[in-house]
Symmetry: D2
Subunit: 350 residues, 4 copies
């Protein structure tokens, strides 16, 4: 049994880690921190968990205690906050799975450019493994520091990997239009998440360049071995859960539907959590039909007249886009069966 | 391993039976019928199940084949349709769990009164067990014919059982106001379920007397040993899943909060799927926080000035209100642990 | 042309006052106050008003300036805040329409009981007119201080007035179950209004006694001339706009459908904003079909077996439940045609 | 007073024509046809219109009667159906505003290519005016046959006109990603519009080439005088009303934010229904804030690193995207003030 600490356990991602790990046969949550709800049982804010986790109480972050009580730490804290904890946790021999952006980028300069700060631990950046099994499964085995991908980046990458791997698109003109549910903004109320304002909205944001592009370009570069230029524009829509990436790319050569089926199948057939949805109901990926699960539904289409390929990936932003993918990486890193705790069936209709 | 057939497997309740039974360690679905989708794999309409149940194809109803391939049959068909199948299935020795209303009422005259037909098998009515474990757990053990409760009735009953059992309310003035999500209407599109019409609606229906009252009164009579008069008025709201029953009753004697806590705890403390929500966040039961699970969250409040008790029960109408409760009864009837396959954690937020 | 000041103009009710008064042929908004958005144009927060009201800038509350620039003041501030402004405004000769609860109750003791404070101006309470034209149209003519009703109270009262007026129900057992949209909570983000938490919710609140009952009982007492005991329990559902009151009452005598049709018609036939919806599509009142307008759709049903009358009123909580009803009272008070500025057609579907 | 007939008046667009024309000072609806609801009053299905339009009853289509009773005909029928009526209506001297696609395309071959039929009246195609005032205001004056634009096309065009007019983008690489609410699918229930399926969905469709591209390319060609290649991919999201077009284009030359402000202002400053939303709350166009009105909110952004321009247009798909734009064209065609009947203020929040 692996003992697990969750730092930042009262937010939505923390809640999902608790939900997923509850039935994980090889993991047990021994520490759950929350500044705001310190002293309260976890169901005090995660109402769904009432009656489960009896005895688990939110605590403050105490790294010594965490080191004593746990083997692996999931960090579910705002960008920037992980920097405080990761070096110390690694030093005392814990494995760390960081769900923030603090260790996702390899190039320290990218932190200056995209996040506006000088990264204090450039050496750790090179040790961290980007936690997407579909790209880095081998490096994840035994990894000590895993940087779990962003949700928009996950959807974007899954829609593009086959096209990039088989080198059939113009890598300098990648347009990714993402639509996301309201849970992506986290559990803190804001004016734009206020129900009367959010419900019914279709609202573009981060339109001058979204930070997740940095990791998308980095990983597509890794997959293709070439320079990549991508744009990612998220749009807040009124779902609660779910993210759909619609990627628009131009075919370099004559690529037909059968070619795409072959490429996507080749890349994803053995992936335990990627399902190809193509010309079978419901026609195209729709995040609605993966809600609650770690699945990513991917698909594609060609507008032949324009040699324009449209590829899609639908995920539950809090599962494959966050907590689920982190547990998937955890399973790989610790040598468990990759699907442990993740045999979650999507709920329909929901 | 128990082999299970689902007659009427393409609707929402059928889909939930498939979702729940997939991970049930003692059951295997061997037959799934659907007139409309005959010949198609189950994920053809249950998009969430893609990649699971490989090889399970919808078939027509063939009772001989069902008798050969299964031990237990779940009937998830419209009211009236079960009558055709049940006697034959029982005759050949299968256990039957009927999710329709066809065997819920003990008194044959109630079928004339509430459903408008003369019941052809009054003898079976007396053999059928009303499948709510919180009332009939003992009779469910070994039962061959189980009539699974209606979703509104389930919520209504759970909100009222303690009050009726402890004889503290006026049994002739019970007002039950139910609010339900759109999935309760089933998977067939209608004008009132058309998204532009349903979303944002708050619409009362069956206001001159809802059929589920018949089973509510029957079961409350059973619990209290007295005559009961109740009214149940459902309101369609724009959730997808969930039903909340708000029951208004007048206290016969001086009943305080502490008394109610004691009564509800006494009745429900050992129930594996009933959770009491009282003055702890989120304050009162809200079906949102049981979605996807078999839990019923119950609670209560007193408007002391008026001696008016308000009691609440929140369920997922497709789980505790349908497929989940049916599997719970199945587990009891077959001597399995009651929670098998039902260790589903609600998803939040969703 | 009447010059109008709106104190508290940046909230949802303030926004609706601005929307409605923009096309009012006899009124012009000259002052709009907002502490938070002082110095910004009104469309800075009321995005819908972009391009209209050029030049209208939010200011601080300055009573001298308001006295100079306006003839009538709408107060759209939190309960308790109106007390600071009303006496002074009346003193300098302005008419005041207060949308808070501060002047709704006639009996000063009710403020102690329901709002927890000693009312400092009991004399003004007797001068204030409760601003529901369906009850107090005559007293509203020329009134100087109008206390505009609460939204839940408005729906509750409209569903009950005919039954009470014709003395056909047990006045001591009135149960009002209200379902309300999220805009009722105002424009300030809170945890329970956070989109991921509110959407899909069915959440009872104020279950031990809702403050609006005080005005409901007061007005029903006024209409009936008798003692009244009512309970009002609101439930947050996931609509944005709209409130439906479902009132449950027991018939004192043999009352049939035709009697109810006659009573409701007698009371409401000449009301410009009350529409009777009975057994014609959509069957019962549904707030969805009055959104954006000042209409109240009312209806009823009898569960004959129980002598239980169910009566319904559906309103847009921000229009007939707030800004619209206030403008209706304003029109009456100033001698204008009652429907001026309020010829708003509900939007469907929305 | 102009007498107006609406053929196909029971759908959502028909309902909006009725809502808008009710307060139009120069128009009166004298005929409203509906096969399905023949003999019923218009509020039988347009519940919002209860109490208005007393005496207006749905009838069958009778062209002789229409010719007698009306001067102008709005056709709100499925694609293909207008062909039956238009020639006859023109012949007897009526003005026709067709909201279907049957007369939108100038080149008869486009009908074969995009709609799959040989157009029977190619001569009428050249006479028809594409009813977007922002492009064809002058030709609309006095026009007898107006082909009202599609909703997706309207949003797409409004987001692109300034960029195309000022010749600053690569006209062969235009990617338009559209997100639309459920009312765009019309008033007939289908599986994909069934509330439990649609709510929460993010579903791409028509991905191999959407028909509206034909009119988008035609009109952009008209504006630019050059060849244009565009792709338009709609996505069903869970709003009821609203369409947002996000257009991705590459700058041909060095174009900065100030240039774009200048171009958009130059093109739209005098347009009565186009509002520019740029770096003022809410930041970007969001269809939520034009609901119920004829406004189009437009905006833009540059991802400078990539020379990628993103331009946005948000409309209410049933107003500026259908009925409202048709009335705008009607006003111009008949020489009325362009905004008559259209002084509708968006409702917020809704």
């Amino acid at each position: 049994m692996v003992n697990v600490a969750i730092i930042g356990a009262s937010g939505y991602t923390g809640g999902e880690l608790l939900r997923i790990l509850f039935h994980h046969p090889e993991a047990e949550v021994t520490v759950a921190t929350s500044r705001e709800y310190k002293g309260k049982p976890v169901h005090y804010i995660h109402f769904n968990l009432r009656g489960l986790y009896r005895g688990l109480i939110f605590t403050d972050v105490n790294l010594d205690l965490i080191a004593k009580k746990s083997d692996v730490v999931f960090l579910s804290v705002p960008h920037g906050a992980s920097l405080k904890y990761v070096p110390k946790l690694l030093e005392v021999g814990l494995k760390v799975i960081d769900l923030s952006a603090d260790f996702r980028l390899k190039n320290p300069e990218d932190y200056v450019k995209w996040y506006g700060y000088e990264h204090p631990y450039p050496d750790l950046l090179s040790k961290a493994v980007y936690g997407m099994p579909e790209i880095h499964r081998d490096e994840l085995r035994g990894a000590n520091l895993i940087a779990s991908p962003g949700c928009n980046a996950t959807a974007a990458l899954l829609s593009l990997i086959p096209l990039v791997k088989f080198n059939v698109i113009d890598l300098h003109k990648i347009v990714i239009d993402v639509k996301v549910g309201s849970s992506e903004g986290g559990s803190k109320p804001t004016l734009s998440s206020h129900h009367p304002e959010r419900e019914g909205s279709i609202r573009p944001y981060s339109t001058e360049g979204h930070r997740h592009v940095a990791e998308v370009e980095q990983e597509l570069r890794y997959v293709s071995g070439k320079d990549v230029k991508a744009s990612l524009t998220p749009h807040a829509v009124s779902s609660i859960r779910g993210a759909l990436a619609t990627s628009y790319t131009w075919a370099l050569k004559d690529v037909g539907e059968v070619d795409l089926i072959r490429m996507f199948t080749k890349v994803y057939a053995k992936e335990p959590f990627v399902r190809i949805v193509h010309k079978s109901p419901p026609g195209h990926p729709n995040p609605k039909y993966v809600v609650g699960s770690n699945y990513a539904d991917v698909g594609f289409s060609i507008e032949a007249r324009l040699s324009l390929i449209k590829s899609f990936a639908a995920i539950d932003n809090l599962v494959k886009g966050a907590a689920g993918q982190a547990v998937q990486a955890f399973n790989i890193a610790l040598g468990f069966k990759e699907t442990l705790g993740l045999e979650l069936i999507p709920i329909k209709p929901v």
